[in-house]
Amino acid sequence: MMISKPIQQGLVWAGALIGTAILLKVAQASDLIGADAVTRGNQAVMGLTIAVYANFMTKEPAKIPPTERGGRMQAARRVTAWAMLVAGLVYAAVSLLAPHPFDLYLAMGAIGTAVVVSIGNAIRSLGGFKAK
C-alpha cells in the first residue's frame, strides 16, 4: 500500500512529537529535569509544529484561478500562513520562557490572535468578492 507524501511527512512529524515527549519523560524519571520543564518542552514542540506547518501551508497545491478573485484567495492564504507561523514561534518562545501561568495565557493569546487575523482577513476578502 502506497502512503502519500503528506501522510508520510505527517507520520514522521507525529513520531518526532511522541519521541520528544518520551525523551522528556525519561529525562524527568532520571531526575535530569523537573515536571515543569517536561510541560514546557512539550508545549514548545507543539508551538514549533504549528510554525512548521504554517511555513509550508502556502506550498500546498491549490487550483487558484488566474483572476482578481484568485489573487485575493492567494493573499488570504499568505496572511494566514504568516500569522500562524509567527503565532507558533511566539507559542514556543513563551512556553519556554514566560513565567507560569502567564505562559499559557500568552501562548493561547498568540494562537487566538492568529486565528482572528486569519478569519478576519478571509471575511474581508470574501466581502471583496461580493463587491466585484
Binding site: A54, F56, P66, Q74
Partner: protein, 106 residues
Amino acid sequence: MNTVFKALADPTRRRVLELLRTRPMTAGELAEHFDFSKPTMSAHFAVLREAGLVDVEKSGKTVIYRIKLSVLEDALLGFAGTFGLGTRAKPGALAKSNALKKGIAS
C-alpha cells in the same frame, strides 16, 4: 535549498514572483511585463519551476503559473528584493547559457 537561492538571486525571476504574488498569471501575461525574448522567459520560468517556487498548470493552449512560496521563501524573497541581491543578466544570456549546458550534456 541551493536551487532556491539561485532562483531568487536574479532580479528578473524575483520580479516574476512579485507579479505572481498579486495573482496567478498565464505565461503570456507574465511575458508582457518584460522585454525579454520568449526563450529567455522560458528559461527563467524553468529555473523557478525547478526550485519549486512556482506551480505550472497547462489549460488547453495556455500555461498558468501560480506562486508556491513557503513563508521562509517569501521572507527570503522580500529580503533579496530589499537589498537588491544579484545582478540582472543580459537579455538572452540565460537562454544561451542553458543552450550551452544542453550542448555540453549531450
